[in-house]
C-alpha cells in the first residue's frame, strides 16, 4: 500500500486554457451571492439569515475550520495528504488548555501551535522519511492524539481549580476589537430591513464588530500563505514538490526538506486552529474539535486547493454551523438557498454541455425547493449534516473544476526519478 487509492473513475479531462479570472469577477460573484441570499431573506422573512449576529457567529465558527483547511493546503500543495488534521487540532486544543489557564491565552495559542507542529513533524517523519501511506499515518495520528491528550488531561487538569478529568480550567479570551463609529451606523441601516442594503450592512457589521484578535491573525495568515506559496521562490519550490517531485529534484530542490517544512507548517496551522477553538470556548474539552479537521479538509477540496477558495468554503461551513444556533426559520430558509445554488450550478454545467450532471443537479435542486415549499421546519439534527452533504454534492457535481496537485498521496524516494 504505497501509493494511495485507485485511479478508476477519475476523469482525465484536459482542462481548457483558463482565463485567469480577475478579482473583479469574484467580487461580482460575491455581490450576486449576497443578492440571492437577500432575496431568500425577503421571500422567507427569516431575518436571521443576514443579521450581524449570524455573520459574527459564522465568522467565529469559520476560523478554526479555515485554519484546518489552510493547514491541509500547505501539506497537500507539497504532495502529502494530511488526514491527521483532526488529531493535530486536538493537540492544539490541549496545548491551549494546558498553557492558557496558567500563562494567559497567547501562551496557550503558542503552545497549541507548537504541539500541532509536533504532530505534523510525526506525520512528516512517517510519510516522507519512511514512505508510509499518507492516509494510514494520518489515521494513526488522529487515533493517538485524543488518547494522549485525555491521558495528560487526567493528570494535569483533574485537581486544577475549575478543571476536570476531561476539561481544563477556564482560559481568558484575547482582546476583541470593534471599528468605532462604523458599527452603530451599520447597525441603524441593518434595522431598516431594506432589500440588499440592510443585508450588506449586516454582513459588514458582523465582520467589523467585536472581532477577536485571533480572527485577525487567521486573516493575516491567509494573505501570508497566498503570498509565500505563490509569490516567492520558496513557495514555487514547495508546490513543485507536490506536482512533480522528480523534476524538482533534478533542478536541485531538496524535496524532503520542503516536504518537512510544509507538513510541519501544516501541523502548526492545525494546532493554531485547535487553540483558537479552545480559547474561543474558554477551555479545553475532550472531543472539542468534533470533526472540524475533516470539515477543514473538505473546505480545502471545496476551495480547489487555493487560499481564497479555502476561506470561502470555510465561510460557508461556518455559516451553516451558525445557522443551527439561530432558530428554525433560518434553517428552513437554508433549504431554499441550497436549492437555488444547485439550480445555478445546473445552468453552469449546461453551458459546459454536461447534460447528465446538469440534469442531476436540477433534480436535486428542485427536490430541495420542494422540501422547502412543503414543510415548515427542518429537524435540527439534520442541519449538522449540511456541510457534509454540500461537500459531497460539490465533489460529485462540480469535480471537473477541481485541480488536484499532481503528485498528491504518492510516495517519493530520493533519487528514484528516472
Amino acid at each position: 500500500m504505497s501509493a494511495s487509492g485507485l485511479a478508476v473513475g477519475v476523469q482525465e479531462t484536459v482542462a481548457p486554457p483558463r482565463r485567469r479570472a480577475s478579482p473583479m469577477i469574484y467580487f461580482l460573484l460575491a455581490i450576486a451571492a449576497l443578492l440571492v441570499v437577500s432575496l431568500v431573506r425577503v421571500l422567507t422573512g427569516a431575518g436571521n439569515l443576514t443579521s450581524s449576529g449570524t455573520v459574527a457567529a459564522a465568522l467565529t465558527a469559520a476560523v478554526p475550520i479555515a485554519l484546518a483547511g489552510l493547514a491541509g493546503l500547505w501539506s497537500e500543495r507539497a504532495g502529502v495528504i494530511n488526514i491527521g488534521l483532526e488529531g493535530m487540532m486536538v493537540l492544539g486544543t490541549f496545548g491551549a488548555g494546558l498553557f492558557g489557564w496558567q500563562w494567559g491565552p497567547w501562551a496557550g495559542v503558542l503552545a497549541g501551535v507548537v504541539l500541532g507542529a509536533f504532530g505534523g513533524l510525526i506525520h512528516a517523519i512517517a510519510t516522507v522519511t519512511f514512505g508510509v501511506d499518507h492516509i494510514i499515518s494520518g489515521v494513526a495520528i488522529t487515533l493517538a492524539a485524543p488518547g494522549l491528550t485525555l491521558f495528560l488531561a487526567k493528570l494535569y487538569f483533574t485537581d486544577a481549580p475549575g478543571g476536570g478529568q476531561k476539561q481544563s480550567p477556564p482560559i481568558e479570551d484575547v482582546p476583541h476589537v470593534t471599528i468605532p463609529g462604523l458599527s452603530s451606523v451599520l447597525g441603524d441601516i441593518e434595522q431598516q430591513q431594506w432589500f440588499f442594503v440592510s443585508d450588506l450592512a449586516g454582513l459588514l457589521r458582523g465582520l467589523t464588530t467585536d472581532v477577536s484578535l485571533l480572527t485577525l491573525l487567521a486573516v493575516v495568515l491567509f494573505f501570508a500563505t497566498a503570498y509565500v506559496l505563490w509569490r516567492t521562490a520558496f513557495g514555487l519550490r514547495l508546490r513543485s514538490c507536490g506536482e512533480a517531485p522528480h523534476a524538482a529534484e533534478s533542478l536541485g530542490v531538496n524535496v524532503y526538506k520542503y516536504k518537512y517544512a510544509a507538513i510541519t507548517m501544516s501541523g502548526a496551522l492545525a494546532g493554531l486552529g485547535g487553540a483558537i477553538l479552545a480559547v474561543a470556548s474558554s477551555q479545553f474539552r475532550d472531543g472539542q474539535t468534533g470533526g472540524r479537521g475533516y470539515i477543514g479538509l473538505a473546505s480545502m477540496i471545496f476551495g480547489n486547493w487555493r487560499p481564497g477558495g479555502v476561506a470561502a468554503g470555510a465561510g460557508l461551513f461556518g455559516y451553516t454551523d451558525a445557522m443551527q444556533l439561530r432558530g428554525e426559520g433560518a434553517v428552513h430558509a437554508l433549504l431554499l438557498l441550497l436549492g437555488i445554488a444547485l439550480l445555478v450550478l445546473a445552468v453552469v454545467q449546461l453551458r459546459a454541455k454536461r447534460y447528465v450532471v446538469a440534469g442531476v443537479a436540477t433534480v436535486i435542486g428542485v427536490l430541495f425547493i420542494l422540501w422547502f415549499a412543503l414543510t415548515d421546519q427542518v429537524p435540527p439534527e439534520l442541519v449538522s449534516a449540511a456541510p457534509y452533504v454540500v461537500t459531497l454534492l460539490v465533489l460529485s457535481l462540480a469535480a471537473q473544476r477541481l485541480r488536484v496537485p499532481k503528485w498528491i498521496g504518492r510516495t517519493h524516494r530520493r533519487g528514484e526519478g528516472g
Partner: protein
C-alpha cells in the same frame, strides 16, 4: 506452496513484534516521566487477565474489532480506503435494532428473526458504502473523502432517527433513549465462560465464519484473485481483463455489508437495543487492526485480541490512579510504528534479495562498479 523459509517467517514477525516492543518502550517512558512505575502498571494489567471476566470481555471486544477489521481489509486489499466503516456500522446497527425490536417480529421464529436482523444490517451497511463506491466509479470522487462525509451524515441521520417521535423510545428509569428493546426470541444467547459473570458473545461464531469466508474469498475464488490483482497493479489487472469499476463497486458493497455486521454481536448479545451509549468509533479501531494484522485473516484475529485485551485490562488502571488512556497512546504508537516497521522490513528484504540474486549470478557488484 514452497517450503517454509525461516528467514521469511522471521522477517514477517519482525515488524509486528518490533512495533510492539517500540510501543511498550514509548509508553514506558511516558509512564516514567509522569511518575508511574511502568512495570507496576504492566503487572497490574497482566494480573487482571487472570480474572475470567476480563478474558470474556476481551474476547467480546475482539469479536467486534475483528469484524470491523475484515470490513476494512476487504477494501485495503484493493487499495480502497473505506474510512466509512464507522458510519456504516452505526447506521446499520441502528436500523437493524429498530427492525428487530419492532412488534411484528415477535410472532416469527427466533432463527428467522435473528437472520432478518443480520441481513438487514448487512444491507444497510452495503447501501451506505455503496454510495461512496458509486460516486467513485461515476464521478471519480475519492472514497476517503466521501466516506468521511458519509460518516458525518450517518451521525446526523442516527441522531435524527433516534428520537422518541421516530424510531426511539425512552429507556425506563434513565434519560437515555434507544430503539425498542429486542425481546428474548430475537436475542443471541451468550456462551458461558468458566466462572465469568459475563458470557462470551454467541456471535463470536459469526466472526469466525466471516474470517473463514474472507480467507476463502481471497484465496479460492476468482473474485478474490481479481481483488488482489487490482490492488497490486491496477494497470496489470485491466490488461488481464478485470473490470476495475465493477470490482470497486463490488468490494465497496462487500466491505459495507461486513461493516454492517460490526454492531451485531453487541446488539444481539448484550445491549438488545441501539441507544445513545452504543459503542462508537469501532470503524477506526478496525483500520488499526487491519494494519497491524496485515489484512491477514489470522493476523487480524491476533491483533483484535491484543486490542481487546489492552482495552479490558486497562480498566484496572483507574483504580491505581493511572489514566487508562495510556492504552490508547500505546495503540496509536503501535499502528504508526507497525507500518513504519513493515516498510523498513520490506526495504531490508529487497536488499537481501538483491544480494541473493547477485550471489547466484556469481558476482556482487558494488554500487560503484555497477555505475561504471
Amino acid at each position: 506452496m514452497g517450503r517454509i523459509s525461516w528467514r521469511s517467517v522471521g522477517l514477517g514477525l519482525a515488524a509486528p513484534v518490533g512495533a510492539l516492543v517500540f510501543a511498550l518502550l514509548v509508553c514506558g517512558i511516558i509512564l516514567s516521566i509522569t511518575g508511574h512505575p511502568p512495570f507496576d502498571v504492566a503487572e497490574d494489567m497482566i494480573g487482571s487477565l487472570e480474572r475470567p471476566r476480563t478474558v470474556a470481555n476481551s474476547l467480546n471486544s475482539a469479536t467486534t474489532y475483528y469484524l470491523s477489521a475484515v470490513a476494512v481489509a476487504i477494501g485495503f486489499k484493493m487499495r480502497l480506503f473505506n474510512i466509512g466503516v464507522d458510519g456504516q456500522y452505526r447506521l446499520a446497527a441502528m436500523l437493524a435494532a429498530a427492525l428487530a425490536g419492532a412488534s411484528f417480529m415477535e410472532s416469527l421464529p427466533s432463527v428467522v428473526r435473528i437472520l432478518m436482523t443480520i441481513l438487514a444490517a448487512m444491507l444497510v451497511g452495503a447501501v451506505w458504502s455503496g454510495i461512496a463506491g458509486f460516486l467513485k466509479i461515476t464521478r471519480g470522487v475519492s472514497e476517503v473523502i466521501s466516506t468521511i462525509m458519509l460518516n458525518a451524515i450517518a451521525t446526523a441521520l442516527v441522531a435524527f432517527l433516534l428520537n422518541p417521535d421516530r424510531l426511539a423510545v425512552t429507556v425506563a428509569g434513565s434519560n437515555n433513549i434507544g430503539t425498542a428493546p429486542i425481546t428474548e426470541g430475537g436475542q443471541v444467547p451468550g456462551i458461558p465462560y468458566s466462572e465469568s459473570s459475563s458470557d462470551v458473545f454467541g456471535l463470536i461464531v459469526l466472526a469466525a465464519v466471516v474470517g473463514v469466508a474472507y480467507w476463502f474469498m481471497l484465496n479460492r475464488t476468482r473474485f478474490g484473485f481479481d481483488l488482489k490483482a487490482t490492488g497490486q497493479s491496477e494497470s496489470a489487472a485491466v490488461a488481464s481483463g478485470v473490470n476495475v469499476k465493477k470490482m470497486v463497486l463490488a468490494s465497496m458493497l462487500l466491505s459495507g455489508a461486513v461493516a454492517g455486521l460490526v454492531g451485531m454481536p453487541q446488539l444481539l448479545g448484550a445491549s438488545h437495543s441501539y441507544s445513545l451509549d452504543f459503542p462508537a468509533g469501532l470503524g477506526f479501531t478496525g483500520i488499526a487492526i487491519a494494519l497491524l494484522g496485515r489484512n491477514h485473516p489470522i493476523g487480524m484475529a491476533f491483533a483484535a485480541f491484543l486490542w481487546g485485551a489492552l482495552d479490558q485490562t486497562s480498566n484496572v488502571l483507574d483504580l491505581s490512579g493511572v489514566p487508562k488512556e495510556i492504552v490508547v497512546i500505546m495503540q496509536g504508537v503501535i499502528v504508526l510504528s507497525v507500518v513504519i516497521a513493515y516498510e523498513l522490513v520490506r526495504r531490508y528484504k529487497l536488499r537481501l534479495e538483491q544480494r541473493d540474486v547477485g550471489r547466484a549470478l556469481g558476482t556482487t557488484k558494488t554500487p560503484e562498479e555497477a555505475q561504471a
